[in-house]
Structures are given as structure tokens and as C-alpha cells.
């Protein structure tokens, strides 16, 4: 496999509705920004780029089949090769990795990932119905298909099993909304308190409206290249900042569509097949997990995502990471729900299973130098969702995973101030970050590691 570099990216303004433009034109906003950030003109870039991968989740939202080729056409990329990827909420993450594959394999030197979703074409309750059709249409959807309900069931189990509290979940909402206050791309830029989150309208107990991301219209694009691709672009006048940002780790995992089918494995199987290298090496952690199993915990059940753990372990191995909390400078993860951010802390090994709730309220995942209006007992270690995540930025599904890639790239380039016109959210000396994209009730999960080239 050849080294693959992320060079530039663009994100359209995420909004409840972008009826000012169709999906092709919104995608072009992000695409044009990514090209302009290379300081190269459109025709020159078009002459160099080898192909693309399109990312969008639902044909229902656009009421348009083959929307990908319409974006490809509008971006002026025909007749270059392209294909569409789809994997629910992880579509953007899958797209990013498909582009990585195109370059790592030697098939392409410069390839663009673009993604979009226009969810405003239907009312919120119809949108929820479309999304719920991404659950088994024979067995899950007819019972009362509603994703917030599915995630709420997971978290009641997490609360029962591990003692996680609604206040700990609210910490995630407060953190991500306040982070987004300094992100001009974010859909929701509001300051909330723990009380605001808990007093918001109850959607699916115990998740309130402020525990849940919103539906959005938006697009994002990222340009990746090989060393040869970088040379071609620079020979044509492109300005690519150094140090370069390299994609050093790729991981994916899957799980059963019906969360009722998820296994409940015994301790030995967990330790052998799912524990992180760090967990396996630590006697204290082994005893801690033995204690959980003695109390009845089984893995993953519905409280954990083994797809996320599988993806994380794979990406960490690829990137040579053994202690993610210490070795990652930030993480942009798929916080469709505050509860799923807590679950994902655990899947990604930022803390042990069962400790996601206290971790959320500890301060370790917060940005330094920002007043969150809450008492945080510990200093920031690895900011999670410094952009504001899905909860505040919005979740135009096909764009979301690529939005994370763009924000991660800007963090590693040290260019947050340039793009946000504000450096509040710049993680100081960011050298390595992870992006995490997640589908369904944990069916497809991708983790990609990006880092400054030494």
C-alpha cells in the first residue's frame, strides 16, 4: 500500500434547510472550497484529479435515484471514474476510506470524496420514518421504528448495567454545543446548561431533544492524494502546506442489523476477541472486567458497539497506537446521541467499558481554555468533538463523516483560525487525530487515523 495524504477539504454551511440550492450546488460549495484551499484553479484541478467517490445515505430524501452521478456531473468530473457508497450514518467514513483505497492501491493519484444529504425535503417525522427504514423492515420498523427509541433502549441498559446518569449524558451536549459556538459551519451555536438539556422536551426516555442531533442539509468534500499526486498538483501550482497530513490508520467493523441479535459473550471471549491491547496488558483492567462479568455484564449486548471496538482496534493497529487517550490529540466521533458519544468513548478505548459516563463528566474530553459553565474535576487530555460534533454541527448523513475528516485535517494543518476565523477550537500542537463514523444501531463503523507526517 502506498502512503495516502489528505490535502484539503471544504464544508458547506450546515442548516435545517438549504432550499436556496439543490444538492448538486450545495456539494459544489464544499468542493470549490477544497480546490480553492489548494490555491489552484478549477480547470487545472479538474485536469489532474483522477476520480471520485460519492457519499449519500438515502434516495428517499432527494426522491432521486443515482443522485451521485448528478453531483459528479455538476462538479465537472465526468467522464472520470466514480461510484457511490452507502452505509447509513457511516456513509461518509466509508467514502473517505474508499478514496484512501483508490490511492493506496495505486489505482489513482488524486481522488476526491464528496458527500451530501438534503433532509429538509420532508417533515421531521417523515425523515425519522425514512431513517427508521434503516432497521429491519420485517422485525424492527413495524414495532415502532424510531432511531431515538432504539438508542434510548441502549442507554437504559447502559444506565442499569454501569450506573451511567442522565447528567453525565447532558455533559456531552453542553460540551459539544459550546464547542460549536466557535464553529461558523455549525447548525446550532448555542450555550446550554445541564439543566437546559434535562429540561428540554423528552423525545425517547431518557433522551431529550438536546441529547439528539438534528436533521440537516449540507455537503462536505475532501481531496486525498499519493506522493505522485501531490507532485502533479504542486507542479501545476497548488500550494500544499507542510507538514503533510497522512492517513495512517484505517479500521472498520460491522454488527447485526437487528440489535436484538447482538451476542452476549463470556469474559474470555471478550478479552481474546475484543479487548484493546492496552486492556489485555493491564492486570487492573482485567480484574475490573472480571468484576463486571461477575455482576452479569455480557458483551456487547445492546449497551456497546462491537463494530466500533473492532474498527478502533484495527485502525490503532494500523497506525501503531497502543494508548489512544494519550496518543491521540483529538477525536471527532459520531455523537448522533449524547449516549452514543459515551458508548463510543468506551469502544474507542478512551476509557474502559462502563466508565464512559464518569469520563464524559471528567473534563478529559473537553477543550482547554473554554468555559463550559460546569465543574470539571480533571484537565483536558484528548478533546472529543472539538468541532461540536453531530449534536451541534448537524448531521446531513452523507456529508457527516467527511465533515469530520475536513475538521480533523484543519486541526492537523493548524488552520482552524483560517477556516473558522477564530482559533478557539484549534487543538494546540495537534499531531494525530481520529475520525469515527457510525451507522444504524452500530451496524457499520469506520475509524480513520490522520496525523502530521514527521
Amino acid at each position: 500500500m502506498r502512503p495516502v495524504y489528505a490535502l484539503s477539504g471544504g464544508v458547506s454551511k450546515f442548516a435545517k434547510t438549504r432550499q436556496d440550492k439543490n444538492f448538486q450546488a450545495v456539494t459544489k460549495e464544499a468542493y470549490d472550497y477544497a480546490i480553492q484551499d489548494l490555491e489552484i484553479d478549477f480547470p487545472t484541478f479538474t485536469s489532474i484529479v483522477d476520480g471520485s467517490v460519492a457519499s449519500y445515505f438515502s434516495d428517499h430524501f432527494t426522491r432521486q435515484l443515482m443522485a451521485g452521478i448528478m453531483a459528479q456531473d455538476y462538479l465537472g468530473l465526468c467522464p472520470k471514474p466514480s461510484h457511490r457508497v452507502e452505509g447509513g450514518g457511516a456513509t461518509g467514513g466509508l467514502c473517505f476510506q474508499e478514496v484512501w483505497k483508490s490511492i493506496a492501491s495505486g489505482h489513482m493519484d488524486v481522488c476526491v470524496a464528496y458527500g451530501f444529504e438534503t433532509m429538509s425535503h420532508v417533515e421531521t417525522w417523515k425523515g425519522n420514518e425514512f431513517i427508521a427504514l434503516a432497521s429491519d423492515a420485517s422485525w424492527d420498523y413495524p414495532v415502532g421504528g424510531f432511531y431515538s427509541g432504539y438508542y434510548a433502549m441502549m442507554v437504559t441498559r447502559h444506565m442499569k448495567e454501569f450506573g451511567t446518569t442522565v447528567e453525565q449524558m447532558a455533559h456531552v451536549s453542553v460540551k459539544n454545543h459550546i464547542n460549536a459556538f466557535s464553529n461558523p459551519y455549525a447548525q446550532k451555536r448555542n450555550r446550554y446548561s445541564i439543566e437546559d438539556v434535562r429540561n428540554a422536551v423528552m423525545v425517547a426516555w431518557p433522551l431529550t431533544r438536546l441529547d439528539i442531533c438534528v436533521m440537516s442539509d449540507g455537503a462536505a468534500a475532501t481531496i486525498l492524494a499519493s506522493e505522485e499526486g501531490i507532485k502533479k498538483l504542486e507542479d501545476a501550482g497548488a500550494k500544499i502546506p507542510r507538514p503533510l497530513v497522512k492517513v495512517t490508520g484505517i479500521g472498520r467493523g460491522t454488527d447485526a442489523m437487528r440489535m436484538s441479535d447482538r451476542p452476549h459473550v463470556e469474559f474470555d471471549t471478550f478479552m481474546e476477541d475484543y479487548a484493546t491491547e492496552q486492556e489485555k496488558a493491564d492486570d487492573g483492567t482485567r480484574k475490573y472486567y472480571e468484576g463486571l462479568w461477575k455482576k452479569g455484564t455480557r458483551y456487547p449486548g445492546v449497551h456497546s458497539f462491537r463494530a466500533g471496538r473492532t474498527a478502533g482496534n484495527m485502525a490503532y493497529k494500523h497506525a501503531g497506537i497502543s494508548d489512544p487517550l494519550e496518543e491521540l490529540d483529538f477525536v471527532e466521533l459520531h455523537d448522533a446521541y449524547t449516549s452514543s458519544e459515551i458508548q463510543t468513548y468506551e469502544d474507542l478505548g478512551l476509557c474502559r467499558y462502563g466508565e464512559g459516563g464518569p469520563f464524559a463528566a471528567s473534563g478529559k474530553a473537553h477543550m482547554p481554555g473554554i468555559d463550559y459553565g460546569v465543574q470539571l474535576p480533571e484537565k483536558p487530555v484528548c478533546p472529543v468533538n472539538p468541532s461540536g460534533g453531530l449534536i451541534a454541527c448537524g448531521h446531513p448523513v452523507g456529508a457527516t463523516g467527511l465533515m469530520q475528516a475536513v475538521f480533523a485535517l484543519w486541526q492537523l494543518q493548524g488552520t482552524i483560525k483560517k477556516h473558522f476565523d477564530d482559533d478557539t477550537l484549534q487543538v494546540k500542537n495537534a499531531k494525530r487525530g481520529a475520525i469515527h463514523s457510525h451507522a444504524g444501531t452500530g451496524t457499520y463503523v469506520t475509524v480513520s487515523i490522520l496525523e502530521q507526517e514527521v
Partner: protein, 181 residues
Amino acid sequence: MAKLPDRRPETLGGYIVHGVPFPVETDPDSLAFLKQMAPLQIEQDYKITYLHSYGQDSPWFAAASNKKLLASRDPESGYAYATPRGHDMYSGQETEWIDITETPAHIHAFTVCYFGSEEFLPETPYVLCLIKFEGINTLFLARLFEIDPEEPSLDWIGMEVKPRFLRNSKLKPTDVYFIPA
């Protein structure tokens, strides 16, 4: 030879607005001004009737309409699925049907939906739960009744429940629902 039609037949009805504002002349200034025009939006209906087959899972629905709750089981390992699967995910072998109508069951996880997808909005608030059956390895998603949706409590987890069946089957998984045992 009969005269061929030169116009598409005009009909009233369809969109509400007739006479959309537009510059009287298409001079360059007026055309440039169109860049400031707000987007037009129209409604589009989309309704489909699907013929959905339950395929190899069909006996489960036939059983529920006869007030029996089935599950499937790998005949060799005994690994059993409360939500039926035609083939075992570990051995790859075809599963067999078992009757779990009388099997003790309890709530493994739950929520109360106060909002929902359009189809289910009229039913809010409703209780969704995952049921664990004794000796069965996987769970079953169902509705829960005879419990106050305005007073949810984590104490519901672990509560023993029993199935109840619709008198008039709809051939849907909701033909069975649960109530406290």
C-alpha cells in the same frame, strides 16, 4: 391526414399559485436580478404499496396469528434466536422452530417514545422494549402495555413479562406484545 396537436391540453388544478412573479422584460439587468430570487418549492406526493414477503420467517407470523410465539434454534449448538433467523450465524446451518410461548421472560431494556416516525405518531407515547427469554440467546423487540408511560423507571428492567396476542392478527411482529407477568 388529420391535423396533429400543436398544444398540450391545459387543465386547471395542480399548483396553488398561478402567475409566478417574474420580470416583464428579460433585459440583462432583469436577468442578473434573478440571482436574488428566492427558491420555488412544490409538493410532490409519493405513495407506494409494496408486496412484502416474510420469506423463511413466515411461520413465525402464522404462529402469532394462532397465539403461539416461535423462536429459532441451531439444532446442534442449541443457540437460540428470539427474533427468528433461517440460518445460525455461527454454524451457518439451517435453524429449527421452537415454541417459546410459555417461556419465562423479562425486560432487558426499554424506552418510552414521546415522539416518533410519522406512521407511529398517533400511538405516542408508546413503550418499546427488548425482551429476554430464559434459555434463549438473543432478544426480541416488542411493545409493552399495562405500564404507565408517563412514569418510566430503570426498575422496569428485569420486570417479568408475558406475551399477549392480538385477537385479530395483522401479520406483523406487533401481533404479539407484552404485559407484566
